[in-house]
């Protein structure tokens, strides 16, 4: 089994991303960040209920992988930190915000909420409220893609906490056994809620665990769009040419709490230090991409300003759309219980 250590992009010069695509990714990552910040604000205005899991710091993982997929055709599953994945699949910010506000115009008609965003027409098969939940489902989706003789791939995102759930290993074993086209993306943001990797597993080499199920994999820097893109490109090539699964452990960090519960009151200080967060913030994937674009003269200051304005406008528009959208009609309570 091939195992490689974390690969740092050589001088940030991967070269495999066209400038136009880089700019697109930058815009998407900025949209995700601004969207999450606004959602946080709206949560505190009681416009959004339930739990809230922000993606701040992990934007490169949604942008660098989903941008390379064939949509529709390829299928994406993830857990409850899912706003970014929906936006990366092309689900309009309006439909995401409306879902978060429980409106009829939301991507799940207001029935799903933050943890259950979905957009099957764009290949997004949904967020999942259960830590290891999407992995057995990905086994089935991958099975269906192979059964129908497609060359499509199922991409399944999940966190380091999921690697300690039994169902994840049952499913990975079967994906390895049946040789299914599944790309596992382990978003290792170092903490399962408040429990660090060191405090939750006897074997922190996650790639080794994938290898144990007959699945090749590697570790990559999840804070760099280049590294993410490059690793995903290799992985997707492997899957599309061999038909077999691949596992990517993406080292990353969330800049905010696990959820609203440890964010609000800086509850995260019980399990990690402000110094650690400051260290990781220096590797902010959006900032480093911006620096790269400036250094290479790929985007003018004016263009940056325009993108910033556009993104803010898009988020603002999604909020006014959602706020002016109707709630689901009461007589729809029993709709969609069955197909």
């Amino acid at each position: 089994m091939a195992r490689t250590a974390a690969k740092q992009p050589e001088n940030n010069e991967v070269g495999s991303i066209a400038p136009a695509d880089l700019i697109k990714s930058y815009r998407l990552m900025l949209l995700i960040r601004r969207f999450e910040e606004s959602v946080y604000q709206k949560f505190h205005e009681n416009k959004i209920g339930g739990y809230l899991h922000r993606y701040d710091g992990q934007e490169a993982l949604a942008a660098g992988i989903i941008s390379q997929l064939h949509l529709p055709g390829d299928m994406i599953l993830c857990t409850y930190r899912d706003h970014a994945h929906a936006l990366a699949c092309g689900t309009p910010a309006r439909a995401v915000m409306a879902e978060l506000m429980g409106r009829a115009t939301g991507c799940a008609g207001g029935k799903g909420g933050s943890m259950h965003l979905i957009d099957p027409e764009r290949g997004f098969m949904g967020g999942d409220g259960i830590v290891g939940g999407p992995v057995p489902v990905a086994l089935g989706v991958g099975f269906a893609l192979k059964y129908r003789n497609t060359s499509n791939v199922c991409v399944c995102y999940f966190g380091d906490g999921a690697m300690n759930q039994g169902g994840v290993h049952e499913a990975m074993n079967m994906v390895g056994l049946y040789k299914l086209p599944v790309l596992f993306i382990l978003e290792n943001n170092q903490f399962a809620m408040g429990t660090s990797v060191q405090r939750s597993t006897g074997q922190p080499d996650f790639v080794l665990k994938a290898n144990a199920h007959g699945i090749q994999g590697e570790k990559a820097d999840g804070m760099s769009l280049f590294s993410v893109h490059d690793a995903a490109e290799r992985a997707l090539h492997h899957i599309r040419t061999t038909g077999e699964a691949y596992f990517l452990e993406m080292d990353c960090y969330r800049f905010v709490g696990h959820g609203i519960g440890d964010d609000n009151t800086k509850g995260w200080t019980t399990y990690r230090s402000e110094e650690d967060i400051e260290q990781w913030r220096k590797r902010d994937p959006i900032h480093s991409l911006k620096d790269y674009l400036i250094e290479r003269n790929l985007l003018s200051a004016q263009k940056f300003e325009e993108i910033d304005q556009e993104v803010q406008e898009e988020v603002k528009d999604s909020i006014s759309f959602a706020e002016s959208s109707p709630e689901p009609p009461l007589d729809s309570l029993y709709d969609h219980l069955y197909s």
Binding site: M75, G106, C107, A108, G109, G110, K111, G112, H116, I118, D119, P120, E121, M125, G126, D128, G129, I130, G133, V135, P136, V137, A138, L139, G140, V141, G142, F143, A144, L145, Y147, R148, G166, G167, E170, A171, N173, M174, L177, Y178, D335, H336, L337, Y338, S339
Partner: protein, 325 residues
């Protein structure tokens, strides 16, 4: 009409639906090379090949996820649990995924999956292998729950289950696998969900049951007929949807009701059916609804204790006499 055993009827339904629709496939433990733990899937691997008859490791979460995800992506999986007791391993995939995805997605994802396998109590299999848990699934919104009694129903209802666009829990009774009955010749014969069958007409008391409980009711009705008591036996066939209209109409003729089940009594299907009778036909009742159920204990191994824990036709007949007294 051909006469066949219940397990052959289950196999026939799968065979016919696999021939009809290439999106239908089977998966489960020992369904292929081993030819099925109870021989229900015998010959299917040879007929349809390994792509459509998929042997799995002993991984119930994996099996349930395989079936749920494949259904979400457009296939029509039939997943076998070696027994329904083992499905307990897979509860998160069943309850939190298969049952909910359509609703959670606002109807944008369909999940046409059948989970099937043997259920029921008896034969000294003891606590972990001998139990009936149908009310757990009936309790969960999003599932349709089917428990056939006759070979014809096993085939007609399973074909409907495979064609249904929603997740279906299909519980066969291991104790009925060897029973025989007539099965229709029409390869497109199906039985719609939510239509109870009146297995025997009678005017004194309504017996309501499903699966092997119907057998107890029929035997009790035979016994009681010798004493001049005529029982009407209703086989619900599906617990969700529940045909309460047929039950209420019968109770309005007989004015007495006994609900019979093999599963535990506490918070069970019988509790629900009795409550629905009160809601729908209270004024028609001349006596309280009687319930006959399994003893509320983990199934004991010793033969005499096991016998005491499982309801019999004698228990049913005694309940009828109590309600008529």
């Amino acid at each position: 009409m051909a006469t066949m055993r219940y397990l052959q009827a289950v196999r026939l339904a799968m065979t016919e639906e696999m021939e009809r629709d290439p999106n239908v496939f089977l998966c489960g433990e020992e369904v292929g090379q081993y030819q099925g733990t109870y021989r229900v899937t015998e010959g299917l691997l040879q007929k349809f090949g390994a792509q459509r008859v998929v042997d799995t490791p002993i991984s119930e979460i994996g099996i349930a996820g395989l079936a749920t995800g494949a259904a979400m992506a457009g296939l029509r999986p039939v997943a076998e649990f070696m027994t329904w007791s083992f499905a307990l391993e897979a509860m998160d995939q069943l309850v939190n995924h298969a049952a909910k995805i359509t609703y959670m997605s606002g109807g944008r994802i369909h999940c046409p999956v059948v989970f099937r396998g043997p259920a029921g109590v008896g034969t000294q299999l003891s606590a972990q292998h001998s139990q009936s848990l149908e009310s757990w699934y009936a309790h969960t919104p999003g599932f349709k729950v089917v428990l056939p009694y006759t070979p014809s129903d096993a085939r007609g209802l399973l074909k409907s289950a495979i064609r249904d666009d929603s997740p279906v829990i299909f519980m066969e009774h291991a104790g009925l696998y060897g029973t025989s009955g007539e099965v229709e010749d029409d390869p497109n014969f199906t039985i719609p969900f939510g239509q109870a069958a009146i297995r025997r007409a009678g005017k004194h008391c309504t017996l309501v049951s499903y699966s092997r409980g119907v057998q107890l009711c029929m035997r009790a009705a035979d016994r009681l007929a010798e004493e001049g008591v005529e029982c009407e036996v209703i086989d619900l066939r599906t617990l969700v949807p529940l045909d309460i209209d047929t039950v209420a109409a019968s109770v309005s003729r007989t004015h007495h009701a006994v609900v019979v089940q093999e599963e535990w009594k506490n918070v069970s299907m019988g509790s629900e059916i009795a409550a629905r009778i009160y809601e729908n036909a209270f004024d028609e009742l001349d006596a309280p609804v009687e319930r006959v159920a399994g003893a509320d204990v983990p199934m004991p191994y010793a033969k005499n204790l096991e016998r005491a824990a499982i309801p019999t036709d004698i228990d049913v007949a005694a309940a009828v006499k109590r309600t008529l007294a």
